[in-house]
Symmetry: C2
Subunit: 296 residues, 2 copies
């Protein structure tokens, strides 16, 4: 049986994540120790990799006053930003520009008197940050949540950048009958939607999908859900979680990775699969672009 | 076999139609001859009824300059309104206030630089009027039409007041992926949607639906489509079109009527059904409210 392994056309690091990692690494060349407020991205392996370079995540309560602080890609609340600016010697803002754009919309809509619905997960740091910019009435709704039990003369809707477009479309559809003026900002990141659609397409042609990315990564979880609706799907963070046994009966393996998954982990997983197949081929095409990656 | 005839909870004249008829009748008490620009409502029987009172529809090219003119409930184009104001001795504006509200939104959105999509039928007078108030880019889309083949940074959507909410929801859903900011004014009239939902509910409990209203009435056609998807449905304009034969095998007859259907026609249809059933009961409860109706 001929076996194939294919990587989704769009997978791995997005613009905002690359930018955050680059900002952190640039800063670390000037400062031996830097802190990030929470994990800089939702990928434990990358966080560990940076820790070895002196870039460590800290919790809000443990913020040092003598080290530069990096605001991670998900952004932070208005209140916390104010506190950072008062207490930290230097603040490096690695908030994803698309997330920041979403916050600007939230602020403006609220100022214009629109109640705002955030389509997102209420515990996600991006959503928590976003909500802090809304002065007036607001709601956080995800797929299973009930709509507010009222009619609105006007209402705005924005989305966590990493939610699925299908869920967003459904929510908007459900809102229409009870709203006179609905103002929708489609703030779902293009990187998110192309990762979703290319994973979807690959899943349809595979008999096993492997989704690589942080267990705490919302966009990775979404890729898992999309693929798992189509075909048997595994969600792993790194190569060592992969058991060769599961590959035995499979002939078309599809690989995809969340926007916070570094390429070297994708390569490791690919090589692990190849090892399982007792094959010598390697996925080397992407090694060059990996920030901070050294061949071992 | 016990037979029942039930009238949908919401059926017949809506606020805007009642208002237009009342305005016309009030005006006719001062002027022996008045013209309406096109049929005042989409119901040939009511138009004929008014004609006998000296209120006659004329086409745009035959506009008299010596008689008062009534602008009908669907409204007219900006250009035609200007012309009327210049040439007619007096103009009575019977544009439905909900249609007028929709025009105000169209005008304002266009002024704010939004391309505007009108969800409606391109030949409907309301839609033709609406479009004339949009100075910039605009599109008229109905259910089968393809979306514009482009991405929009901002886009507004309004609806003909008598379209179905389900179709509107579907259109909005389809637009979302290709638009950054989508501004939706749900201008579907509540009277339209309650007529639709009460017809839908009644159809589910009937084995024949009879939809009464002008063959040229968009909202009546919509009621027909909704009912016809559920159960065998007839669309008639008046009682004489009803053939007793079709009722023979039916035991639960549902009646509904478009927003431009006068109550006396509903009563006539009901009486015709009762005659078919050789039964003496009459649906007399609504006769009182019918504008201009005299028992014969």
């Amino acid at each position: 049986m001929k076996k194939t392994v294919r990587l989704a056309k769009n997978a791995g690091f997005c613009f905002g994540v690359k930018r955050a990692i680059n900002l952190a690494e640039e800063a670390s060349s000037d400062h031996p120790e830097i802190v990030t407020l929470g994990p800089i991205i939702h990928n434990p392996q990358m966080v560990e990799h940076l820790r070895r370079k002196g870039i460590s995540p800290v919790e809000e309560d443990d913020l040092p006053t003598d080290k530069p602080v990096i605001i991670r890609s998900h952004g932070i609340t208005k209140e916390l930003r104010k506190r950072l600016e008062e207490t930290s010697p230097s603040v490096i803002d690695a908030t994803c520009p698309y997330v920041d754009n979403c916050m600007q919309h939230a602020k403006q809509l609220s100022k214009e008197g629109y109640p705002v619905i955030i389509y997102g997960n209420k515990d996600h740091p991006e959503v928590i940050a976003l909500k802090s910019y809304i002065a007036g009435e607001s709601y956080i709704l995800s797929d299973e949540d009930r709509l507010p039990d009222k009619r609105f003369s006007k209402l705005a809707v924005i989305s966590q950048t990493t939610k699925s477009i299908e869920g967003f479309q459904k929510l908007i559809g459900k809102l229409i009958p009870s709203v006179k003026e609905l103002r929708v900002f489609n703030t779902i990141c293009a990187a998110t939607s192309v990762r979703q659609s290319s994973s979807y397409n690959l899943a349809k042609e595979s008999d096993l999908m492997i989704v690589i990315g942080g267990k705490n990564s919302s966009n990775t979880q979404m890729l898992f859900n999309i693929c798992n609706n189509i075909v048997e799907t595994l969600h792993i963070e790194e190569a060592e979680e992969l058991d060769c046994k599961i590959l035995e009966e499979k002939s078309n393996i599809g690989l995809t990775a969340g926007a916070s998954t570094p390429d070297w982990i994708i390569v490791e997983v690919y090589n692990k699969i190849m090892k399982c197949f007792r094959d010598e081929e390697k996925l080397i095409s992407k090694i060059k672009d990996i920030p901070g990656y050294k061949e071992e």
